[in-house]
Symmetry: C2
Subunit: 189 residues, 2 copies
DNA sequence: GTCTATAGGCAGATAGAC
DNA sequence: GTCTATCTGCCTATAGAC
């Protein structure tokens, strides 16, 4: 066991890595930078993690597992409520904002089977389950817009976002379920 | 992608670079890859472009100039119509989907003064002009959601997106202007 | 658990022949 | 305009001392 005051080197490394990955991207962040910021050497990092990739895996797993759970629940309950699903999805994003921001921005990670590919297939699954069977093109676009609202969460200033969860949720819901008679007035550019 | 008519080596290089940058990210794409795909060598690339960075600059300039123009127009017309602005913003995104996708995902480019920083300040300016003076937190979040809808455009399948412009636009508008009595039912997770 | 030292690779960029 | 050859620098990762 580590000392109560100490966060544990492992966790410190992960936290620092997340910060740098988020700020600069995964590729652009070298182990040297992570080590320097922790007043360590690269070699010390390799004592805790067998490879750079492992940092990414451990950072993203909690979010991805959460999304996985959501998909499972949606499949189990065919009559899932749209609002409940969007709410759960949003809360997942709020809990893991940093990781979401990293994943959505980082093309370097998007071909990794256990990270990018897994994330994409989970988002696709949720989107498809949310869209429902045999959807109209309109429904497909609307679902994408609703998820777009939630995906925009990482770009909202944190201080503003606090306690504004329901506003985002309402916006997402409205993007999804529109009265068909709501029209664009004179919006051509 | 490439026309049967000769495009000019310069344009071919730019097109190839955009494709690879979009697929893999800027950092992750080496000049060697670009050269290989064009059956050239790295050195040949350097005849046309003085540095890798220049590829990014030329690829993003059209979009950024368009956003710049929009900001200027908004500033000139204080009574700008929300719908018109969102429509113009959306059309900008539709015209430059690939570049938008690249820019929004690529942290490696986001600290470059003439690319990432410029893009961010332009988005911020549009957002602020759209939000209006002395906004409520709700208004700030709603504006972010509306722009989130438009920002989701690169993630909508292209074949579905065709002719669905107005659906996206309507969704964005609704995210922006909500009746305050629209409530979330039982959406707590 | 952390260090020094270094292997081995590939990146961006340049020089100069053709 | 395109090539070959090469420079320089930083990267991930490993070996082994303390």
């Amino acid at each position: 066991m580590t000392e109560p005051t100490h966060l544990g080197t492992r966790e410190q490394i992960l936290a620092t890595a997340l910060g740098l990955f988020t700020a600069q991207g995964y590729d652009a962040t070298s182990l040297r930078q992570i080590a320097d910021q922790l007043h360590m050497t690269k070699a010390a990092l390799y004592y805790h993690f067998p490879a750079k990739e492992q940092l990414l895996l451990e950072l993203t797993r909690p979010l991805l597992d959460g999304m996985s759970r959501l998909v499972t629940e949606m499949r189990a309950d065919a009559q899932h409520d749209e609002a409940r699903v969007l709410a759960a999805y949003l809360d997942l994003f709020l809990t893991h904002v940093d990781v979401v921001g990293l994943l959505s921005r980082e093309p370097a990670t998007q071909n990794h089977p256990d990270v990018g590919q897994r994330a994409r297939s989970l988002v696709a699954a949720i989107q498809q389950l949310l869209t429902g069977p045999d959807p109209s093109p309109r429904r497909v676009v609307r679902t994408a817009c609703a998820m777009g609202v939630i995906h925009s969460v990482p770009q909202i200033p944190i201080d503003v976002l606090d306690n504004q969860r329901d506003i985002v949720l309402t916006a997402a819901l409205q993007a999804l379920q529109t009265d068909d008679d709501t029209h664009v007035k004179s919006a051509r550019a």
